[in-house]
């Protein structure tokens, strides 16, 4: 777990990034986590346990953050995927990908709190963007969609 923390997760400052990254390591059919590098150094069982533990901790950390911080983390995460903010919000509101990004055996109430916070954070962020856009003179608004580059490999889940 320390190995995983020092080598991979240390580069992800935001707990949202860590939670999404770790959920992408999980097979949704079995609930097992896979990481070839870690499994090669240790074993599949040890790697799975370490990833599950880190996923759980990332979720707990995220569940304690305030709404303001969650909005800020989502802005940062969306920027790292190079998608347009409004498009990102629209897709997250429709698909609710955060529902499959949480650890399996979470307390139902804490899970509900987290889902509710995501829903609120998306609404807050969208309102702020729309208000900002309404305040801007039309001539300053971009006329073309945001330029896109391929998503980072570790963020391809969403």
């Amino acid at each position: 777990m320390a190995d995983l923390g020092h080598r991979t997760l240390a580069h992800m400052r935001r707990s949202l990034d860590r939670m999404i990254y770790l959920s992408s390591m999980r097979d949704c059919n079995t609930g097992m986590y896979y990481h070839e590098g870690l499994a090669g150094r240790f074993s599949h069982e040890v790697a799975c346990e370490a990833l599950a533990r880190c996923h759980f901790e990332a979720f707990l950390e995220l569940s304690s953050t305030s709404l303001a911080d969650l909005v800020s983390q989502m802005e940062g995460y969306a920027a790292s995927t190079h998608s347009s903010a409004l498009e990102f919000i629209a897709v997250w509101k429709r698909l609710e990908p955060y529902r499959v990004a949480i650890p399996v055996d979470m307390d139902p109430l804490l899970r509900e709190v987290m889902f509710s916070n995501f829903k609120l954070a998306l609404a807050i962020w969208e309102t702020r963007l729309r208000n900002r856009s309404a305040e801007e003179p039309a001539s300053l608004r971009p006329r073309t969609p945001a330029r896109r580059s391929p998503p980072r490999p570790d963020m391809q889940m969403f």
Binding site: S66, L67, A68, L109, L110, E112, V113, I124, T127
Partner: protein
């Protein structure tokens, strides 16, 4: 009253005892680890989230926050009430077999259970009517009372948190207890 509460237990055979033990163990864990934890109550009833959204000056978002928090607060108080009810049923059916409680301690426990259950009902009503942020003082009181009840029942039923109870839980979940 005491006869109904303690002397006329609803206990069944060994299977019922194991099930009751597992339920009580789960209730105490759920209360102590999740429901009464600052992590959960702080988020649901957080001043900072309310202040943050209020400062935005957007009535729609504030309304959404109040609706979401009211829903979560009602879910929370409902779960606290359910777990306290489970503990009370366990105590009524099983504790006489394990714990040597004095009459005054039993009376205090009965009063503690019933008053907290009634308080939770009142709290649900208060949250429903006035929203979660105007019920914070009552929430703190409920958390304190439930925590105290967990501590009190934790003494006589301390074995619930023992290795044996963990094994019973695992065995029960795995279908190992056949009765």
């Amino acid at each position: 009253m005491l006869y109904v509460f303690f002397v006329h237990p609803t206990s069944s055979g060994p299977e019922g005892s194991a099930e009751s033990l597992v339920s009580a163990h789960h209730a105490i864990s759920s209360l102590q680890i999740s429901l009464l934890s600052d992590r959960v109550t702080d988020r649901i009833f957080s001043d900072s989230d309310f202040d943050y959204v209020s400062s935005m000056g957007t009535p729609d978002i504030l309304q959404l926050l109040l609706e979401e928090r009211r829903r979560l607060a009602l879910l929370w108080v409902g779960q606290v009430r359910a777990q306290i009810g489970t503990l009370m049923r366990f105590h009524r059916s099983q504790s006489a077999l394990y714990a040597n409680l004095s009459l005054s301690a039993e009376l205090r426990l009965v009063y503690g259970f019933w008053s907290l259950l009634a308080f939770c009902r009142a709290l649900e009503f208060l949250i429903f009517l006035r929203g979660p942020y105007r019920a914070r003082a009552a929430v703190r009181r409920a958390v304190s009372a439930a925590g105290h009840l967990c501590d009190v029942t934790g003494g006589p039923v301390a074995f619930l948190r023992s290795r044996a109870a963990e094994m019973a839980t695992a065995s029960y979940k795995g279908g190992g207890i056949t009765g």
